[in-house]
């Protein structure tokens, strides 16, 4: 919508409502193209795999995972859609209410987290933050558009989730938010804390998190998702820098007023695009090549976001920080 593509935004919103329609307890982190629920994973034994990378799998078993962050993503998308002027339906609002009611009953459970790790459920910080986002956007939607909901109850819960995260996901010894409750690991998804409006970028805890990530979670100036040697994600250790997360760092730098650093990181990332402007999911600095999903929507979405953030920061330099996603 920022770039003027309202028709696409409306089509996607409608798709989302159709896909997620049904019992809120059955909402999935991903669907098939037409909203199919079963994305059965199977292996193709006769294909040797990209550069011998076996096995070749079709489908995605992660469709059955529980990820709390999905609720935040959905509620945020629907809230932004309404703010952007897309006509909302009564049915859409009913679905959101049902999703919040379901979230209320499950937010304290561990989940698989944004990276769809296969190492077993944990209390991932990003998931809890996104549970807060779900409540926050639902409350804002109700406030802005005068929708009838148990506002006091929702506000109290939003406060509780916020306090829970600040208490259990922040490690004062390290001076940083951590990957999961009680963990000492860093995680690039923590860069979303200020971007979704959970805490301001200049909050000391957020600042500390950004500094820790810059110091300990980077390779060759680019951001890693997490330390693959110490995070049990079901895969062998070692992976490239994650491009979307590197764009998020640039967004954080914009919010912190470090415009020159943000700009040079952004231009570094632009330089990684291939000869026709495409980005994969990751970049391997050691081998100097792109790896992972290709082309990767996640990376290109992040690129567009950062371009807008840098642009609005330049326009308002010194006046106020760039627009945060959650505040748009």
């Amino acid at each position: 919508m920022d770039a003027g593509y309202y028709e696409e935004a409306a089509a996607w919103r409608d798709w989302l409502l159709r896909a997620a329609a049904g019992s809120p307890s059955q909402v999935q982190i991903m669907y098939g193209l037409a909203g199919e629920h079963h994305l059965t994973e199977w292996q193709v034994p006769w294909l040797p795999g990209y550069e011998g990378s076996t096995p070749v799998r079709i489908g995605n078993a992660a469709h059955g995972q529980v990820q709390l962050d999905v609720f935040g993503e959905v509620m945020d998308a629907l809230y932004q859609a309404r703010r952007g002027g897309l006509r909302a339906s009564a049915e859409g609002w009913q679905l959101q209410r049902a999703l919040v009611d379901h979230l209320v009953s499950i937010w304290e459970q561990p989940d698989q987290g944004i990276w769809e790790v296969r190492g077993g459920p944990q209390h991932f910080t990003h998931s809890k933050v996104m549970a807060w986002v779900a409540l926050d956007r639902a409350i804002k939607g109700a406030e802005t558009f005068g929708l009838p909901v148990p506002l006091d109850e929702w506000r109290a819960l939003r406060e509780r989730v916020h306090a829970d995260v600040c208490r259990k996901a922040y490690n004062p010894d390290i001076g940083s938010f951590v990957q999961a409750y009680g963990s000492r690991q860093l995680d690039a998804s923590l860069l979303l804390i200020p971007l979704v409006g959970f805490l301001p970028a200049d909050d000391a805890r957020v600042r500390g998190t950004v500094e820790n990530i810059e110091r300990r979670l980077m390779a060759d100036g680019l951001v890693l998702r997490y330390d693959t040697a110490t995070t049990d994600d079901g895969l062998a250790p070692g992976e490239g820098a994650f491009l979307a997360c590197s764009f998020w760092l640039a967004d954080n730098l914009v919010l912190l007023g470090r415009h020159d650093d943000a700009r040079s990181l952004f231009e570094r990332l632009l330089a990684l695009r291939n000869d026709v402007g495409l980005l994969a999911e990751e970049y391997d600095p050691r081998l100097g090549r792109q790896v992972g999903n290709f082309p990767q929507a996640f990376s290109h979405v992040a690129l567009v976001d950062t371009a807008f953030n840098l642009g609005s920061a330049a326009a308002q330099k010194a006046a106020r920080p760039a627009v945060q996603r959650g505040r748009r």
Binding site: M1, A3, G4, Y5, E8, A11, W12, W15, Y31, L33, A34, G35, L39, L47, P48, G49, Y50, E51, G52, S53, P55, V56, G59, N60, H63, V70, E73, V74, A77, L78, Q80, A81, G84, P237, E239, L270, N274, D275, V276, G277, L278, L279, A280, E281, D284, R289, Q290, V291, N293, F294, P295, A297, F298, H300, V301, L303, V304, D305, A307, L310
Partner: protein, 273 residues
């Protein structure tokens, strides 16, 4: 040996997409939908698992490529001391069939090119039955899938491959149209490549022209938006962004599997509300 992933470019018709290497080989295409089985799967295997190559006979030809501005039309320029050609690859917005169009245009001198079409339905496993229609087009059929190839260049079969060699001089063009249809459908006339090119160009130009971004990174922003649009399954009334190929690997020498999946994950949508 397939190319490095970043040596591929994307073309598509908003219902599926193909990956084209710098050497003019289409090494990945699921047809007719993003989540259909691939009929070109060389990316994950060998040329014998399906691909369509159009390239100079001279393996040392220089390669330069770019999208036509504001479009998803790929132009690969091959040049040697003797000549230069541009290979134009695109998939037109979908009509009655889904089409993959390749046009070779002579820019300078003369060049000998070769084309090789290896069709393997169901992720490289099924060798189709290939026959020639009365109008000269080739039809490949297996199970539910059928493709029809219109070529101005004479093609012949060799080792389960359809191949041809041709020369393009400055000012000449050679067009190829590959159409997908369910195998029980009647076969329509092939679309006209030049008309399809003009229509596809105006489709993307119009779409890209709607972008309201006015900052200093117009080119990367526009290219990213076009890529996102191309990765979005979008028959009328449907829209679900996805990732085309999920190559999950920790590093190239430490691969942990390749996943080809098409589906909508929530996360890519963070800020395209």
């Amino acid at each position: 040996m397939p190319a490095r992933i970043e040596d591929y470019a994307l073309i598509g018709d908003c219902e599926t997409a193909a990956l084209v290497s710098r050497s003019g080989s289409i090494d990945w295409l699921c047809w007719p939908r993003f989540d259909s089985a691939a009929c070109f799967a060389a990316l994950l295997a060998t040329p014998q698992h399906g691909r369509w190559k159009i390239a100079p006979a001279d393996p040392d030809a220089r390669v330069k490529r770019a999208y036509r501005e504001g479009t998803l039309i790929l132009e690969t320029e091959f040049s040697t001391a003797e000549g230069a050609v541009i290979l134009i690859d695109f998939m037109p917005p979908r009509g009655s069939a889904s089409d993959l169009v390749r046009i070779v245009v002579g820019k300078r001198g003369r060049m000998i090119l070769r084309t090789e079409v290896v069709l393997r339905f169901d992720y490289g496993s099924i060798v189709p039955w290939v026959s020639r229609l009365d109008d000269g087009r080739l039809r490949a059929i297996a199970g539910p899938d059928m493709v029809v190839l219109h070529s101005v260049v004479p093609l012949h079969g060799e080792d389960l491959t359809t191949a041809g060699e041709f020369t393009i001089a400055e000012g000449e063009t050679a067009a190829f149209v590959l159409a997908y249809l369910p195998s029980h459908h009647p076969i329509p006339d092939s679309i006209d490549a030049a008309t399809a090119l003009a229509e596809t160009e105006s489709f993307w130009r119009e779409w890209a022209g709607r972008c309201t971004y006015q900052g200093e990174w117009a080119e990367p922003v526009q290219r990213s938006l076009i890529t996102l649009k191309a990765l979005t399954y979008h028959p009328p009334g449907v829209s679900s962004p996805l990732r085309l190929l999920r190559y999950r690997s920790r590093s190239v020498d430490h691969g942990t599997g390749t996943t080809a999946s098409a589906g909508c994950a929530m996360q890519p949508l963070r800020s395209l509300p």
